[in-house]
Amino acid sequence: MTDPFILHNPVLWRELAGRLRSSKTVLAAIAIAVVSSLLVILRWPTDATIDLASQGALEIFRPVAFAVAVAVMLLIPAFPATAIVGERQKGTLSLLLNSPTSTTQIFVGKLVGNFLLGCILFSVSLPAIFACYAMGGVSVNGHVLPLLLVLAGMTFQYSALGLWISTRSQSSEASLRSTYAVILCLALLSIGPSVLVGKQSGSTAIASQAMTTLSPIPALQGITGSQGTAQAMGVQSGWVWFVIVSVAIAILFSLMTIRMLDPLLLDRAKPAGKVLDSNAYAWWRRLLFLVDPKRRKSSIPFWLNPVMVKEFRTRRFGRLHWLMRLVSVCAIISLVLAVVATTGTVKWGVDRIAASMVILQIGLLMLLGPSLGANALASEVESGGWQLLRAAPISTWRILSGKLLSIALTLLLLLGATLPGYVTMAFIDPKVSGQVGNVLISLTVAAAMITLISACVSAYSRSTAVSTATSYTLLLALFAGTMLIWVFRGSPFGPVLVENALLLNPAAIAMSEIEAPGFNTYSLTPRGWYVGLVICLIAGLLLAIRTWRMTRPD
């Protein structure tokens, strides 16, 4: 009898044991266990009435299922996303690739290791899930098993995706950012077209419905019996399809990763840099890039903060030439959406279009903001640049203001890119101009919160990878977590709790201002802005204290 191939894989055991020894894994497991248990304890019936319709158990099961799914989405991708790029940075990948272990074995070890780790992490919520089963309204075949399969499907899919991105990335931080961006797109943006198209028929509707199989949200809605919400949004998709699609995606990306894992992967020359000052195509390049990266930069003028200029020129993510292109694309999209909404060429309605513009902006803020903020100080410490700044005659305030300005200006630039769309809307329908103003204030508060929270996390982290993962997790928990509470408005969460939770979320405030479906019943301004400003003040204060301490002599 031969031993199973997987069990004798040294990479698997090292991966799993290494991850399980980490305090981050223990913290993640504790967080999942605490949140899922708390949700059950808070809603556990205290009276002696019999629930004949079995709705009580489902009301508890629903938030538990979604909370665990969100935890899987937020916590598990961080592990595979750093698995291969981390090895490359440490120099151990070359040792592995030059050993008799095949690339398939290395990959399978990594994939199975991360998949098992994910399973261990979400399995700590099993007591909470079975508590719902014990109440009597939740069945194993109808609810528990499908939920576990969906969670396993998510884990498998995100592990394969994370490893593929990790193989392609040059740094752990870039890999984390891309992995979270892809997973957010898969989970949220994939249901966007379906929400916009609504209950229409035709090929567009079929295509948008097919896209929803990429997201676990419709599958979870199906399992937890909240199809009403899904159908109201025009989303219908079964959990079986989600599991099948997840496995298919995982296999596809696994094959792609195995093909890429090769010693040649390490044989990449560093770009030496080339300046094209007197090139015949220089003006073409300027038009194409808007800010040509191959043009010789001028000296930093005395009236500009040098730290801010340096950030725009050198940061790993969000360099000026890419930003300008992104802003241009956003401006075009917002204009098109505004014209479509206001001229009524499509019966989508102004509220839906405005909501999609807000979602687009929040999505971009969430994609760029945490990464920029998380890089602010941690990357400086990591690269050794902080030591040089400390030894230079520059004040804490100048460093901090330069860093924060570079992030804030970037995010404001992104917000500004959608201004043409809002202006067009206000011009065609002057009644919405007040609402548009409030939406922009809310989005500015969101940008400030994202900037200061992620920069604060960065100041307290020693590596950009940890800082990026923590920032994304914190901000997603704040923005997506409060939205999750809103999804379960009515039951199990009461209206007061939902409104208070939404006060923490500037995106929800913006949605309520434009009277997006489901948000028009809440009155969140100006209280929500004040809450946002208080959060910004606390984060800013913590950041300033930490930066001041870091610049002081030891």
């Binding site: 840099g273 040098p306 020129r313 050794g384 030591q387 030894a391 030891d554």
Partner: protein, 339 residues
């Protein structure tokens, strides 16, 4: 022709040498009873040194000896628990901002930024040091020429070889024209050619009037450039002075080496040599080199007698020579005494 050089030119040569003497005797870096404690651990214990203008101080010690602690205090990144340190008359712990203007510091880590070209890197640090834009442009050209990196100015910093990065690091420290350069392990990880180039660059900087404090583990390299040496172990200064002074203090005995023919039995030869020297202490054997080495205070004629007696005793001596003690021996002597 030289003997008939004009009086004025001879006078000016005299003047220069007198000037140089004054120049060299002016103390630029001074520490007095410098002590740094972290809780119960004493990282630096009463360190007192003086370095004159234009000198190169070689700061030697094993890992954890207190070199980096001293450097951090000198550049204003750390405060001493007691004692004082001044550079060009500026107190390092009281005037942190002013000290940054008189010192150019190159840490052991380069501190590069992604996607940054060499001239952008220097421009950024020039702006940090508030050098006016036009002056900054000229100064960047100047330091690139001094460090021989002008051809690299459009290259990305992270794409440069380690040796080139070290040169760019020195160019960065020179930007604000500091009086003192403090370089932490500048020759670390450099290939032989880059090491020679680095040595020449440091000598050039010292000749231009800069005072240098250099730490290194590559002691033969240091011995070639340093006027003054400080050996530190376990936070304490074990030796300080010119190389000659340190060598005389730490290695008072000369060392001789006897190389024997391949068929000679080394153990037997050692016994014979011990009987001739009237002791066998300190005679070491190197099997690979087929040599015997011994420390001695004997005169040249006494050693000549020892050699002739060895030959008369039938020992097949192929070489008999003095082994010059160097900084490495001095350091090993200190390390052995503190172990």
């Amino acid at each position: 022709m030289e003997q008939h050089a004009p009086q004025s030119s001879r006078q000016s040569l005299k003047n220069i040498s007198r000037k140089e003497i004054c120049f060299m005797s002016e103390t630029v870096v001074e520490t007095h009873q410098l002590t740094k404690r972290y809780g119960n651990f004493t990282a630096l214990d009463s360190l007192s040194i003086r370095v004159a203008r234009g000198q190169i101080l070689g700061f030697i010690g094993p890992n954890g000896a207190g070199k980096t602690t001293t450097i951090k205090i000198l550049v204003g990144l750390s405060r001493p628990t007691s004692g004082s340190a001044t550079i060009a008359g500026v107190d390092c712990s009281k005037h942190g901002a002013r000290i940054k203007q008189v010192v150019g510091y190159m840490p052991d880590r380069f501190g590069s930024y992604d996607n940054m070209r060499v001239h952008e890197y220097l421009d950024f640090f020039g702006a940090i040091f508030r050098i006016p834009t036009r002056k900054r442009r000229d100064r960047i050209e100047e330091v690139l020429n001094i460090t021989n990196t002008a051809s690299m100015k459009d290259k990305y910093v992270e794409s440069l070889s380690h040796g080139m990065q070290q040169r760019v690091g020195i160019a960065r420290t020179l930007l604000h024209d500091p009086e003192v350069l403090i370089l932490d392990e500048p020759a670390n990880g450099l290939d032989p050619k880059a090491r020679i180039e680095m040595r020449e660059l440091l000598l050039k900087l010292a000749a231009s009037g800069k005072t240098l404090i250099v730490t290194s583990h590559i002691l033969p390299e240091l011995s070639r450039i340093c006027n003054v040496v400080a050996i530190v172990t376990a936070g304490k200064l074990r030796a300080f002075g010119s190389q000659e002074e340190v060598m005389a203090r730490l290695c008072p005995q000369r060392s001789y080496e006897v190389q024997l023919a391949p068929d000679e039995i080394l153990a037997g030869a050692r016994d014979k040599l011990a009987s001739l020297l009237l002791n066998n202490e300190g005679i070491s054997i190197s099997e690979a080199e087929r040599t015997l080495r011994f420390p001695t205070s004997r005169s040249e004629s006494e050693l000549a007698d020892v050699l002739s007696q060895m030959v008369q005793a039938g020992m097949k001596v192929t070489q008999f020579r003095e082994v010059t003690s160097d900084l490495e021996d001095a350091f090993l002597t200190v390390a052995a005494s503190t172990d």
